[in-house]
Homo-oligomer: 200 residues x 2
Amino acid sequence: MSSNPVSSKSTAATAHALWQKQPKANAELFALTYGALVGELLRDLEDSSQVAAELDRMGHSVGVRCMEEVLAKLALQAAEDGSTRTFGESTDVLKVAFRMFFGIAVEATTVKRDENGTSSYSIKFAENPLDIFVELPPERQDLEYSQLLAGMLRGMLEMLQFDCSVKVVQTVLAGNETNELSVELKQVLQEGAGEDYQEE
Amino acid sequence: MSSNPVSSKSTAATAHALWQKQPKANAELFALTYGALVGELLRDLEDSSQVAAELDRMGHSVGVRCMEEVLAKLALQAAEDGSTRTFGESTDVLKVAFRMFFGIAVEATTVKRDENGTSSYSIKFAENPLDIFVELPPERQDLEYSQLLAGMLRGMLEMLQFDCSVKVVQTVLAGNETNELSVELKQVLQEGAGEDYQEE
């Protein structure tokens, strides 16, 4: 309740308050319905990579809608209104979005720059709300079941004017210790937005 | 908090308590994801009735899973364990299930018997959590967008040993004043279960 000057703490508090105010659905029903969606795609499409591509596409459109709402709720100016936000600062907004839409806390690594000047960071989270009932059968071990999340992240970042490539790096479902999505910045979509990311 | 002898009141209290304890997801994200599922089916299938049939099928399997959990949470014996429950009494369990999985209150009409001896009732609810963002385009006015609910209801009732035909009768989406699903009993699946429904 006390106002905390540390940005990450106040972000968490804001995110929690927003989550509390959101209309709720049952997380298990959500996971089951998502499972029905994945099952439908598996019946219609040949291989796992096609299923993942579809999930990614759907996630993108869901992510755009979600971020519109996050920005409205945060009463932030969207980037197209002239406000700027660095690529690194986008993680603060993503934390709010994951809390607000999935009710989970995510961690973000700091931005790294590779030898080509490409910036990237990772988003990590312990619980994945999509896969709580899932065990992949042996013949579908190659399926990126939660690709929707990567697509959502891509859509959300696009709304922040960051054109990114998002990949699922590791998942608890596949036996890893945590869930990790990697985010690589391809380009800043609009002048002004993200222009400071060079200085990070 | 007081124990109330009126069954419908205590059912509502039980349902509310169970809903409070459920893990939550964001209702808007759920609706958007369901929309992605329907959109996927629309792309793959020719006509609206095929889409509805698929949604019904998925709903059935989701409904079975949901009712398993309701019965476990209520610590009721499932019908196959030898306990009996009349067809009319099934509405009490459905009220709990709708509250627990959708967070909404539903009303049930009393059981009617037609001239052939077929028993039926209706489930009515004001808010439909699936269609909050939906407006059907002119060429899809014939789509039963929330057919998943009818399938779920069918699956839930099957778990209570009632083989039913469930239809969407009216929806707010289509301009009606309320949402209504009609439930018609086809047969009681197991001897013992529902044998009292004759006396209602």
